[in-house]
Amino acid sequence: MSFDAGTERLTMRGIVKRFPGTVANDGAELSVRAGEVHCLLGENGAGKSTLVKILAGSQRPDEGEILLDGVPLSLSGPQAGLAAGIAVIYQELDLVPDLTVAQNLLLGHAPALGPFVRRAERERRARAALDRVGADFPVTATVRDLPIAAQQLTAIARALTFDAAVIVMDEPSATLGENDLRKVFDVVRSLAAEGRSIIYISHRMDEIMEIGDRATVLRDGRTVGVFDVASTGPDALVSAMIGEARELVASEPRPPVTGEPLLRVDRVRVPGLLDVSGIEVRPGEVVGLAGLGGAGRTTLLKALFGDVRATADVSLDGRPLRVRSPAAAVRAGLALVPESRKEQGLMLGLSVVRNAAVTALGRPPWLLPHRRGSRRAAPVLADLGVRASSPHQPVGKLSGGNQQKVVLAKWIARGGVRVLLLDEPTRGLDVGAKADLYRQVRALADTGVAVLLASSELNELTANADGIWVLYEGRNVGRFDPRTTSETTIAHTVITGAMP
């Protein structure tokens, strides 16, 4: 393949993508040359994934255009993206685990003779693709049996079977160890040397410095700058990701919460995922958990709630807390507002009042659940200001903000909650609904509940938490006081894992 290094291969211009309640891309630009490794950087929610999905053809932009070699592209679906020569390797590798490597590599475009697959030809092509990424495992191996690095190479080789000119790699290092990453980097370099364009997404600065030629930084859905990686340096890139403007959020000043801790997490360990120690939450205190995707926030909350097996040294009100199941956690006074309200929080087909009441029924008399439940849940729903056409409306038909309030109502109606665990409670909510929800959480804290609040939205944490722990690669690296620390400083630690 011949190419002129430095010519524009791919251009995305003025990309806008709106979702109900939020704008994911708001004028994003991306310009990638032939033969370069181009990094795409940004904090959680900066719009990276949406931009990649638009590039892959799996989502259509509301505005903007995509040019490949100067020709406008209109991508009607992922197949169109592949046909145009754009291959995306997602973090969760979309390979079919029970098929062989050869079957996976040529899935959907296997060499055929009429209705018959030409197996020998398929294996020859698969071998050729594997050789080019330097993989030495047999093409007849089943993908499920391969180590994760080999699966990653398989996914890259699959992109080569489409002769993709643009290859997008979404956080390959999230699943790879150090040695395997070297191997993948070598392949990335040789592909770039052939004139292919690689778009490399990662949170880790050291990787970016090692592999990247240039970097595009996204913030709040917009492109804030394109940088030459080598001459810019990590600090400037991090600053560009965070932005300079955000300083102390002027929320109502709250006095620091004092008193004995109610929840003490001396140590919680989940092998390979999480090792956290020394987190304390006082009654009435809202402690935030910040971190990148995969830093362990959700795992920590699940471990505390008895939903993930962990070796835990935790105490509640001075007494050791051992929970082996969510049911035991609930009995001990813990409550979880899970990450996905539709899949984990609510029974969408049941009515608002039945959802809110279901936790309140687990005590004698075991009779008349509807009457007892609505007696307990109805005032709570009214207090929270849940808007529904009737308490008997299915909860699935409410707006996101109202649904999340029903999840909260479920625990308030039960009563006896001492520790409230919130996992991304405002995901998908509009600004008003977010403010409303945080007001309710604060009101609950004021009754003496200890709150652990995990969120990807740092500005929400600084505005609503009394203290913020930053988690990085499964460890808690430091605690910040949002009253005295700027958001920029915290964001720096979130991205780099290093304390200021």
Partner: protein, 331 residues
């Protein structure tokens, strides 16, 4: 009575129209049932005789009792394929125990307990080891039928049963068969359990979203195990009642019962994926299917024809439910 913040209501006529269609959605099966009865009366004058109606109730009751248990299982998004085998086993054990001169009430209690135990075992395997209920109860279907044959090496059992025991399955109170009364009583009890106990509410919660129920701290595994135990006990009861009517235990009885029961549950409007439905729909569906069979008999249409009609009706009912549901979600 709503204490929620009310959104502006739709205009009155539209609301009335919607209420009308709600009523139709809720009672469409009952309407179809009475329509079918009316047609049957016109086509075959013998249909509306006490004798025929009593027969009809007697024939549908055993399947009905099993279908009530199946409804509970399906409401939790499970399925129980073992009901036919468990019923046959229950019928055989009660016959054998009475043959050993055991008091028939004790024999019945033991049969039901064994049925509940089988159910709890299969349900427990599915709940605690996360095995699909389809597979554990399919295994149960085969294994329990095998056990049933092993009891007597495949021969019918018993024969000499007390008069009082025979009344249960074959007796009449006036014109009403005793098994029919038992069927009605079990339906009412199940409806009360579903509506008026915490356990019943948990059944719906687990069926609607098992993960959310678990993360709400509900005893999900216990609930799942319990509904299978109930289904097992009710299946065994059906077996006991058949033995009572025939005065012998038949190891080959109730083949394919699971399909009749599932068909009735689904026709009764219970969602096969759990969370929605109830025993009242199942009750009407059982009667409806049996009226259909009865009508075919009275008209001299063969059983082959009946099978085709039953199949067609099931598909039509499913499509109808889907259409109504879609319309409902658009409102």
């Amino acid at each position: 009575m709503s204490t929620l913040t009310e959104e502006p209501r739709a205009s009155a006529p539209a609301a009335r129209g919607r209420r009308g269609s709600d009523m139709f959605v809720k009672f469409n099966l009952v309407i179809v049932f009475f329509a079918l009865c009316a047609v049957a009366t016109l086509l075959a004058p013998e249909f509306l005789t006490t004798r025929n109606l009593a027969n009809l109730l007697q024939q549908s009751s055993l399947t009905g009792i099993v279908a009530i248990g199946m409804t509970l299982v399906i409401l939790t998004s499970g399925i129980d394929l073992s009901v036919g085998s468990t019923a046959a086993f229950g019928g055989m054990t009660v016959a054998l125990l009475i043959d050993q001169d055991m008091n028939f009430l004790a024999a019945i209690a033991i049969s039901l307990a064994v049925g509940a135990l089988f159910g709890a075992l299969m349900g427990g395997l599915s709940a605690y080891l996360a095995l699909p209920a389809f597979m554990t109860t399919l295994a149960g279907l085969t294994a329990i039928r095998g056990l049933t044959y092993m009891l007597t090496d495949g021969q019918p059992a018993g024969g000499d049963v007390p008069q009082a025991f025979q009344l249960l399955g074959g007796g009449f109170l006036g014109y009403v068969p005793v098994v029919g009364l038992i069927f009605i009583a079990i339906t009412v009890i199940a409806a009360l359990v579903l509506r008026c106990t915490t356990f019943g509410e948990y059944v719906y919660a687990v069926g609607s979203n098992r993960e959310a129920a678990r993360l709400s701290g509900l005893p999900v595994r216990g609930v799942v195990t319990a509904v299978f135990a109930i289904s097992g006990a009710l299946s065994a009861l059906a077996g006991v009642l058949l033995t009572s009517r025939l005065t012998i235990g038949q190891p080959t009885a109730f083949n394919g019962l699971e399909l009749d029961a599932i068909a009735a549950v689904v026709l009764g409007g219970t969602n096969l994926f759990g969370g929605r439905g109830g025993v009242f729909g199942t009750f009407v569906a059982v009667l409806l299917l049996s009226v259909l069979r009865n009508l075919c008999n009275l008209l001299g249409l063969g059983s082959f024809f009946q099978m085709v009609v039953t199949g067609v009706i099931l598909v039509v009912a499913l499509i109808l439910n889907m259409v109504i549901e879609k319309r409902g979600s658009r409102v």
